[in-house]
Structure formats: C-alpha cells, structure tokens
C-alpha cells in the first residue's frame, strides 16, 4: 500500500522506503508508460527518469492534493506524453494506436506483480466502469489520455465535429467519476 507516510520516509532519504515505493508502483507506471509510448525500452527509460524525479522532488508532494498513486500516475503520464510529442517533433511517426498498444500488452503479460494482484478488486471496478462506457466515449478519452491528443486533434483524427468529441469526453469522464465514486478517494492503490 502506498500511503503518505511511505512518501514521508522517502523524503527523509530512506532507501528502503524508496525501494518499497518502487515495488508498489512500478508495474502500474510501466503499464501506463508502455501504453503511451508503445515500446518497452522507452517505457523503461521513462520510468528511470520518473523515479529519479520522484526521488528529487518527493518533498514537494502534498498529501492534501491527491493520493501518492495519483501523483505518480500523473507525473508518469505527463512525462510520457512529453516524450511522445518530442518524438513526433523529431519526425518520428508514432505507430502507436489502441490496437497496437493492446497487442503489446497481451504479448507481455507476465506473472501478475504484487501490486496488480493486491488491487484486483479496484482493477475489476475500473475495468467494468470503462467497459460500461459507449465505445465512442472510450475511444475519445483514450486518445486524449494515452496519446495526448487535444479535442481538436481527436476530432480531426476521427473526422467528427469538435462539439461531439468534447461531449463524448465530458460524458465519459462524468460517468467514470460517478461510477468510481467509492474508489475515487480511496487512495489505497496498493
């Protein structure tokens, strides 16, 4: 379980706490990085950067503003999207799509790590909440969240009116918020 006291120990330079933080969060963050970047090597590089940034900036984590996992996920997503955009800027055409990402994950399904097993109930709840959304809403949220596309870029990609895309994202996020009400502030992403 990642609790704020673990982060407080990391702030004090506690190596064991940092090691625990890694054990409890790395599979989730790696999964997210692979989903966004589409390959394992880059995801591993990204995780290296993210954990070093955590080590350096952990003292700026504020308990009142979100769970430790939310902080780590947000940081990882943010840095992964940065990389994705830098790659696009270098002219690298990201082949990463929903299908490609899924294929990678299926191929890489190893033994389920501790943190994943421990969160089984929450994982099922999230899976169900996402699956309960209409396909179009899932797609729009996925393109924004995992590919860093703005609503305008999504509208262009899907060839849909901008308002429609905005509405899909708003409705989808709202349903997820309501569906995950009891989990939202759970904060115990073990």
């Amino acid at each position: 379980m990642i609790d704020p006291t673990l982060l407080a120990r990391v702030v004090k330079g506690d190596q064991q706490a940092f090691s625990q933080l890694y054990d409890h969060s790395s599979a989730l963050l790696f999964t997210l990085a692979v989903r966004i970047l589409g390959n394992h090597e880059e995801a591993a590089e990204l995780l290296q950067d993210v954990y070093l940034e955590v080590w350096r900036k952990v003292s700026r984590y504020d308990v009142g503003r979100g769970t430790p996992v939310a902080w780590l996920v947000t940081l990882t997503r943010s840095r992964a999207i940065d990389r994705l955009r830098a790659r696009a800027a270098r002219g690298y055409r990201a082949t990463n799509s929903l299908e490609a990402g899924t294929a990678t994950q299926v191929a890489d399904l190893g033994p389920s790590p501790f943190e994943m097993q421990a969160n089984q109930e929450l994982r099922i709840a999230i899976g169900a909440a996402v699956a309960g959304l209409p396909q179009a809403q899932q797609q729009a949220i996925g393109l924004a969240y995992y590919e860093g596309l703005s609503h305008a870029e999504i509208a262009a990609r899907l060839n849909q009116p901008l308002g429609t895309v905005k509405t899909r994202i708003k409705l989808g996020m709202s349903k997820l918020r309501d569906g995950l009400q009891e989990w939202r502030n759970h904060g115990e992403l073990q």
């Binding site: 504020d62 940081l75 989808g172 996020m173």
Partner: protein
C-alpha cells in the same frame, strides 16, 4: 470564457484533452482561487489517475529497479534539491498536477547560427566548470593528504602504546606462569606427604590388628567406661549387709538407654541351687535380673536392660533360689544407701 465554460472544461482538462490556450485559461482561473472548479478538478483528476489500473498489466524488466536504485544514489538527495527549488505560489494545485502545465515542446526549427552560438557557450561553460572542478579537487586532495597524515600519526602513537601494553601483559603472564608452577610443586609435595601418612596409617592398622586380634567387639567393660563419661548417668553405691560385710557394689543406670550396670565385689559364692537377684525398690521391689557368683570369683558385672523404672532410688541384691523369684524371699546381701 464564462465560468460555466471553464467549469465544463474541467473533465476535458483532467483527461488531457484541452489545447494549450484552453489549459492556460483554466489554470489561471484555478489560480484565482475558484473553489468549486478546484474541487471538481480534484475529483476528475482522481478518476483520471485510476484509468491505468484498467489496463492489462505489463511487468517492468527485472533489471530496471537495480538501475534506478543505483542512479538514485548518484542523484542529489531530495531534501537538498527541494531546498534549491524556488517557492511556488500557494494556490498552485500541487506536483500531482504537473501535467496540467504545457510540456516543453522542442522548437520545430532551429537556426544554425543560434545553434553554433549556443554550442560554443555550452562548451565554454562546460570547460570552465571542468577547470574549476579540477582546481577544487586538487585543493581538496591536498587537505585530504594532510588529514591522512595526521590520522597516520595518531595511529602510530596508538600502535606504540598498544605495543607497550602487550609487553606488560606478557610480563604479567610470565609471572603468573611461575606462580602456577610453584603451586603445582606444592601440590605434588602435599600429595607425597599424604601418601606417606596413608602408609603410616596402614602400618598402624596392621600393628593394631596383630596386637588386638578381634577386639573390635564392644565388651560390657567398654560400655561401662563409655558410660562413666556421660555426666547425667545416675550412680548408686551399695554396701554389704551383715550377711557379707566385705561386699560392696556400684550401680549405674541410664534412662536414655534404659540400661543398668551393677558392679559387685566380694560377694560370697552362691551355694548350689541359689542365685543373686537385683531389685529396684520404689513402692515395692521389682526384679531387675539375676547373677551367679562362682567359686574363686570376687567381682561381677551385671548388665540388664530395664524397660520401666525411672524413679527408683533404692536397690538391693538378695540370695534367691535358682531362676529368681518375683518378690525377694532370701536374705539381702547388698543394699543402696538412700
């Protein structure tokens, strides 16, 4: 943008779907302190942070942890780094909202002169830093060598004192060894003496057994002798009656062992068919035992165990028919003086 429009953009913001301008507008609004938008964003952010848990898990390479742990050791510690960071506005939504701020996108075009200028600056900067670093390292090295010399000096002094201590200990040990040797010798002498005493004792035993034969059995005389040494044994003397004026007796009795000893002298020889009988007299005479005087004998010791007499003070010896009688029937020969 109206507040309603801003509020509607919150879920898009959380999903990461706003473009740069819209993001900045909402951020400005949040920084202005809108509590309801802040609260809504927090909720949506929490939902967004849960989304990756819905993905099929992918395990990171095993070596990644070791790499990160190793790199982290060379990274500055968090507290220090945090100290150097400039203070942030209090309304800033926190590090977990970092991604809300536009990522630093690389410039799409970069003019060559600028690039060269920048590169030169970079080289100069790095060069200067390295030069400064080397100089700093040298001065650090010199002071380190001095520290090491001082520490070496201290160690040498310590070593010398340790040497002295070891010498002292060795001497003490030698003394102890000598002392121990002495004790061992003394013990050997004592043992020898003991063996000698044993031999002497054995010799004495042999001599005793040769002299005394089977004298280990306790005789009444022995017992009497022992008895005379006990202070609380009662002693009563008896004198001869008219029947035997030269006769006398000496009686001891020990209530502890309930034994009576009668030592009599000069009693006349018992005529055939008669015997002497000793009486204890309290209210009436009680027979203690009989004894016989043969021809030529002048002394006799009678030893009897008497279960129950304690207070008798008078004793008498009479001559009775053989086997004795329950009450005195014959003449008295000895009588205690009471």
């Amino acid at each position: 943008m109206t507040h309603e429009e801003l509020e509607e953009s919150v879920p898009l913001y959380a999903a990461g779907a706003l473009d740069r301008t819209e993001r900045q507008a909402l951020e400005a609004h949040l920084l202005s302190g809108c509590a309801s938008c802040h609260s809504a964003l927090k909720d949506y952010q929490a939902v967004a942070a849960l989304l990756p848990l819905g993905l099929s898990p992918t395990r990171p390479p095993r070596s990644l942890k070791a790499t990160i742990m190793a790199e982290r050791n060379s990274a500055p510690i968090s507290a220090e780094a945090a100290h150097k960071e400039p203070a942030r506005p209090s309304l800033e939504p926190g590090e977990w909202m970092n991604h809300l701020f536009p990522p630093v996108a690389p410039a799409r075009s970069f003019s060559l002169p600028w690039a060269i200028g920048l590169a030169t600056l970079l080289i100069l900067g790095v060069g200067g830093y390295l030069a400064w670093n080397v100089a700093a390292e040298r001065s650090v090295d010199t002071s380190k060598i001095q520290q090491l010399e001082v520490s070496l000096q201290e160690k040498s002094t310590k070593l010398a004192s340790l040497h002295r201590e070891v010498g002292d200990q060795t001497k003490a040990l030698a003394e102890l060894r000598n002392e121990m040797q002495q004790r061992v010798n003394e013990a050997a002498d004592a043992k020898e003496q003991l063996a000698q005493r044993d031999a002497e004792l054995e010799e004495i035993r042999v001599q005793l057994s040769q002299r005394g034969g089977a004298r280990t059995v306790r005789t009444p005389q022995d017992e009497l002798a022992t008895l005379l040494q006990i202070p609380n044994v009662k002693a009563v003397s008896l004198t001869g009656s008219d029947m035997a004026k030269r006769a006398a007796g000496f009686l001891l009795y020990d209530s502890r062992t309930q034994k009576v000893w009668l030592y009599s002298v000069n009693l006349p020889e018992c005529p055939t068919g008669t015997t002497y009988q000793l009486w204890a007299i309290l209210d009436k005479p009680v027979s203690i035992g009989t004894f016989h005087m043969d021809r030529g004998h002048t002394a006799h010791l009678l030893v009897k165990k008497v279960p129950s007499f304690t207070d008798a003070k008078t004793f008498a010896v009479s001559l009775e028919p053989s086997g004795g009688r329950p009450q005195p029937t014959g003449p008295m020969y000895l009588l205690s003086r009471s």
